[in-house]
């Protein structure tokens, strides 16, 4: 009887031990996969960085080439008045397209998420915590108002607004030109400071609407510098209509 009991206990212990080992083995194999995961992820992260670096390198090559292009263009058209007016037009076009760094009078407008509001403070049924955040549609509204008031160059957090720029929302971040940006949103615009300021601050205008929800700050400036667009405005699908 006693021997049987001992045997039974040993049996149970063996079983438990086996189970324990089995779990252990699984843990180890899982840990391995996590390590592998981290490795592939690090690899991917490295690759993203490599691509970004390659892009930046090539971009500085392009900048240099564009500089050279401008020089030879000037050289080729210097003795010819019609040619030099064409040259000026190309320069103007590049400015309109947002492909050059520009400066001028204008405004700097900052929109910030309202950090002072918490979910507990939002109790009314028509209230929503998301009202206290800056949305992509708010930024589109501001850009449109600024263009209406004659802005000649606009950037949001240093992303130049060009003819192909989209302002989109992806979850909790906003993307401009495919690049992630976050609050505070600093919008720079060059144009008549009075007109730009007036467009945003008029009663019922954007700032009037935003002030109830998010934090705004606007100031006129004598010198606003706006960096160029560092992407390519492509024309793969369109061609000029032959006359």
């Amino acid at each position: 009887m006693n021997k049987k009991q001992v045997a039974l206990t040993l049996g149970i212990m063996c079983l438990l031990l086996t189970v324990g080992i089995a779990i252990q083995v699984r843990t180890i194999s899982n840990t391995n996969s996590t390590v592998a995961q981290t490795l592939t992820e690090n690899g991917l992260r490295d690759e993203v960085l490599r691509w970004k670096e390659r892009y930046d390198n090539l971009y500085s090559q392009l900048e240099q080439a564009e500089g050279n292009l401008e020089k030879v263009r000037q050289q080729a058209s210097q003795d010819d008045t019609s040619a030099s007016s064409k040259e000026d037009e190309i320069k103007l076009n590049n400015m309109l397209l947002g492909l050059t760094d520009v400066t001028g009078t204008g405004i700097i407008f900052t929109l910030t998420d309202n950090q002072g509001v918490t979910t507990e403070m939002v109790t009314s049924i028509d209230d929503d915590i998301s009202y206290y955040l800056v949305h992509d549609s708010d930024l589109r509204l501001v850009v449109n108002e600024l263009k209406n008031a004659g802005a000649e160059a606009i950037s949001i957090n240093n992303q130049r607004i060009v003819s192909t720029s989209a302002i989109t929302c992806e979850g909790n971040i906003i993307k401009v030109n495919g690049e992630k940006i976050g609050s505070p949103f600093v919008i720079r615009a060059i144009g008549s400071p009075e007109l730009l300021y007036g467009a945003l601050t008029r009663p019922g205008g954007p700032i009037d609407l935003f002030n109830a929800k998010v934090i705004t700050d606007i100031k006129k400036a004598n010198k606003v510098e706006i960096a160029k667009y560092t992407g390519i405005i492509s024309s793969k699908y369109m061609t000029n209509v032959e006359e």
Partner: protein, 233 residues
């Protein structure tokens, strides 16, 4: 007899300790599995980022080749003392095309917005333009008014919309040139795409792919008064 009981107690004690150790390991395993799920998500995001950078890099490469060809063409005309007008005209044409100073054509889509239970709003048009740009539209027009980088859309009273100061009314025919498939698929995403979203909100939206969309040039004077180029050092 007493000795046996003591042995039994000790063995049971050890079994308990083993058990606990195994349980802790188990917990750790579960923890790590959770992290793996999050990291999986990051991986797709990373892969997406890589493909975006690749695409941007290729565009950049193309542009660089183009610029280098133009440089050698200019150089050639300087060396041979020939007039540079041909090269210059070509460059000016493509630059004018990007600005919107020329009539252009190409594959694309035509989206028509019409009043139904609700008016078409200026903000609807703004959002449509934004969506089209996101999907890679190269040229856009609203009722044949070219949308350039300077274009604004203003709604004065219900139904009266001004695009670059020109009054226009529904139905709004919005044309876009770009990759047909990208353009139409990004607008027709189920429920969240522009077409479904605005059809549900009470306006009529139709979308048509076209092999050859023609978009007129801007009738605005494209000039600048306030901006000056920063001369690089």
């Amino acid at each position: 007899m007493k000795k046996g009981k003591i042995t039994m107690a000790i063995s049971l004690f050890f079994v308990c300790i083993l058990f606990m150790a195994v349980m802790f390991m188990q917990f750790k395993t579960i923890d790590e599995t959770d992290i793996t799920a999050i990291e999986n998500m990051r991986e797709t995001e990373l892969r997406e980022a890589i493909s975006t950078w690749k695409a941007k890099y290729e565009e950049l490469e193309q542009r660089l080749t183009q610029v280098n060809t133009q440089i050698s063409e200019y150089n050639e005309s300087i060396e041979t003392d020939k007039e540079a007008s041909e090269v210059l005209d070509k460059e000016l044409d493509s630059s004018n095309m990007l600005v919107g100073k020329t009539d252009v054509e190409g594959e694309g889509i035509v989206v028509t917005l019409a009043d139904q239970e609700d008016y078409v709003r200026g903000s609807d048009l703004l959002e449509l333009v934004n969506e089209l740009r996101y999907a890679g539209a190269e040229a856009i027009s609203i009722n044949d008014i070219r949308v350039t980088n300077m274009t604004y859309i203003a709604e004065v009273t219900d139904g009266y919309i001004y695009v670059d100061g020109q009054r226009t009314t529904a139905p709004f025919v919005v044309k876009a040139i770009g990759n047909q498939t990208y353009l139409s698929s990004s607008l027709t995403l189920k429920n969240v795409g522009f077409v479904d979203k605005y059809t549900n909100s009470g306006i009529r939206v139709t979308l048509e792919k076209q092999k050859n969309v023609k978009i007129l040039k801007t009738n605005q004077e494209m000039s600048v008064k306030y901006i000056e180029e920063v001369v690089s050092k």
